[in-house]
Symmetry: C2
Subunit: 460 residues, 2 copies
């Protein structure tokens, strides 16, 4: 190390860290590694842990002190989080999580062993415990589960001067005030939410004004049972930084800040991609081989059923294929193109459903549009592939049958690609999860049937 | 309408809005529709416009006043935004956008006709224009392109009291202070960024403290040329609400707030999903049929090449298929399962690349893991499908060949699913865009070759 690097905080890159880790594991000299990790943000340590194979991950994990472990756990995901919790003693877990923020703790608590949760609860004072119970009483994927129960609330009928005195007093009493605050919540005498006081307004308006005069009453409060995805859309659409959470009666029970929402949005995008690949449960790239294999085997099995149904369809036309082997050569093209075109339509419909631009009022219109696009591209590609097949096998009728089958299958693809996600959505099933399998089943079966069937009728 | 509904603001649902729209188009009574739209947030109007077919969309658009049009344009995406701009006169566009926020304007300006931009620029005062030029000089997908150039900066050596006076003066002079502020930027005498002053600290600490004493110097500034995706990761990892943007020398040039970042994160997730479907350019569900058809034909064409390569491979084994039609029946299963397994691996690798958990240091390890998973599932499924084929066609050797081909293809899938995205990433090509086509080409060609090849060698 150069003298300069020790004089100021130097961020260690992942590559350097990997080298230091290998060295430390080899010659048991942990000091350099500990030094390298110290200046990193918990999220960066979590990233590093997630990029390491099992034994290196545990080696690094064991070097962290209890406080850091708590912060890092909050930043890890799914399988890795569970694994790290499993490798930590109950005693150390209690130390790691007891001083976490309320919402971080509520987020972790479902994954922690029961004894750890009880020990942490025991150590809380009554007020903190009541708040924690409030957050825990709502499912993780609702506004109540996302919220922080320690919102600072002020009354609408006091002056800004009084609010300023109150905030200063909080600082003196508690040493710190909650982070990420751009607003204070405003309530009436019965704790009903009536608006938000922007800090920038608190400092810039006349100190003798009342809170009610300068507060922002346009931002609607969020009901505690609103699903997290809707909360995320509301924050996105309104460019919110924080919002009040209210119970059914309208009483203020907490606040949500945008940093919680950012995680929801990232996870939503991430989840749709993994659903399409059928690997939604797999969040650890170095999950044990058997776990990964089992997760994926389920999806492969579902697709295998598809494959055998298609094989059975082909089998029905065995005689035709024996007479004209060109059919076997061309049939995967018809099925495959249907699958690709259907996936295109489905991607757009699924996105529209998520963004609520696809609604019941425009479904017919959308179906009509997708069918037109399918027919148009079917015609274009049909003429192209039909001509190729005609010359390849020197058989005009075969070319025509091939072209016709492709046109029909692209229309089927448009139809299935539009309706399957809509039906799944209506049935409460995530279309990104099951849509692809159903779609490929449809375009395979119908593609093979139409092409081989037409060929049998016309060419045999 | 009931008397209650007129006394307070009632939000109109999309379904109601659609009905009112149909009515308004029919009997040309626009008043009710205008009333229904008035209380909606610009983002909600944008959503509604995006869910409407072409002519209804324009009907509603024309009813909006110029100010609303400006706010709504900012919230629309891609094709719909361009279409709406195209349907608005230059004069009205100038009125619509001239009072927009700096960063909203900079975001729109690439889509606006040149004459509109010049007219808006002409109307700006010198200071606003200089700031606007600063934002425009950076590409949209960098920190500089995301930033707001009107950050409020204070000096580190003044007292909190002075800052409070300054903020109050801003309020009196300009009537309003920028929204979404939770911090003020702190600079030294030469405008170099040195930290951030949280508003909550400004109001709660002793007024005689200096800014430098209470400021937060832990939040690193963001270089203006940092890519937007990295900015998003930084905000996510550090739970930031706002951060300073600095130029190469370290001078403060603007600030990014989390609401800009939320859009980046949403678009990233959205884009990966659409890339996988090959419909990345298509953002308007009611884009004109010809436009949609053209976009998708390109992707279908790319996949068609794949299809014909696979057909050519099958063609080489035409004689074997003529002798044993079971080969034609089973071959799509081998190719298809390879495609599904490869997609699973690729999904995980692409996600790991985006989250930077897949790095050069662990690639070999990852490849080894994926190959093991592939071999394991290959064995499992191979035994299963081999047995089915054995009984179906009453041919033990065929069952063995089928099983062996499946095992080999699942290993190929693991190999291609790991390495293709890594190679594309290294070459600077988005793996979500091109990975799928390459992967299916590999699993199809190798699946057909191995199965038909082994069958020709062993069974013929």
């Amino acid at each position: 190390m150069t003298p300069e690097s020790s004089s100021k905080i130097v961020k260690t890159s992942k590559a350097t860290l990997a080298l230091l880790l290998d060295q430390a594991i080899e010659d048991a000299s942990k000091d350099q590694l500990v030094q390298a990790v110290a200046p990193l943000h918990p999220a960066e340590i979590a990233d590093t842990l997630e990029s390491l194979p099992y034994e290196k991950r545990l080696f690094l994990w064991r070097l962290l002190d209890a406080d850091t472990k708590g912060d890092v756990l909050v930043e890890t995901h799914g399988e890795v989080r569970e694994q790290l919790i499993g490798e930590t003693t109950a005693e150390e877990l209690v130390m790691a999580v007891e001083r976490l923020d309320m919402d971080a703790l509520a987020d972790l608590d479902a994954h922690l062993p029961g004894e750890v949760v009880s020990a942490v609860l025991m150590a809380m004072d009554a007020q903190r415990r009541r708040r924690f119970d409030a957050v825990r009483s709502y499912p993780d994927d609702t506004a109540g589960g996302l919220m922080d129960a320690d919102a600072i609330a002020v009354r609408g009928d006091v002056t800004l001067e009084v609010v300023l005195r109150y905030v200063r007093q909080l600082r003196r009493q508690q040493g710190s005030v909650p982070e990420h605050i751009d607003t204070l919540m405003v309530v009436n005498n019965d704790n009903y939410y009536i608006g938000m006081l922007h800090l920038v307004d608190l400092v810039s308006f006349d100190q003798r004004s009342s809170v009610a005069e300068v507060m922002d009453s346009e931002i609607e409060p969020i009901p505690a049972d609103m699903p997290a995805s809707k909360v995320a859309r509301a924050f996105e659409d309104r460019d919110l930084i924080s919002a009040a959470v209210v119970d059914k009666s309208g009483q203020l029970i907490g606040r949500i800040t945008v940093d919680d929402v950012v995680d929801v949005i990232r996870e939503e995008g991430d989840r749709s991609v993994r659903h399409l690949g059928g690997v939604h449960a797999e969040t650890d790239i170095f999950a044990p081989v058997l776990t990964s294999a089992r997760h994926r085997a389920v999806w492969l099995g579902v697709n295998l059923i598809n494959g055998f149904i298609a094989a059975w369809v082909i089998g029905m036309f065995g005689e035709s294929i024996e007479k004209m082997v060109a059919l076997a050569i061309l049939m995967p093209v018809v099925a495959g193109m249907g699958g690709v075109a259907g996936t295109q339509t489905m991607t757009i419909v699924i996105r529209g459903l998520a963004q609520e631009t696809v609604i019941s009022g425009n479904v017919l219109r959308l179906l009509y549009k997708e069918l037109t696009v399918g027919a148009l591209n079917g015609l274009l590609l049909g003429v192209l592939v039909g001509t190729v097949a005609m010359f390849w096998f020197d058989n005009t009728t075969l070319g025509l049958v091939f072209a016709l089958a492709l046109i029909i299958n692209l229309c089927v693809a448009a139809f299935a690609g539009t309706l399957f996600p809509l039906l799944l959505h209506r049935m409460g099933i995530d279309p990104a999860l099951a849509g692809g399998v159903l779609l490929i089943a449809a375009t395979d079966v119908i593609g093979f049937t139409v092409f081989l069937g037409l060929a049998t009728l016309i060419l045999m």
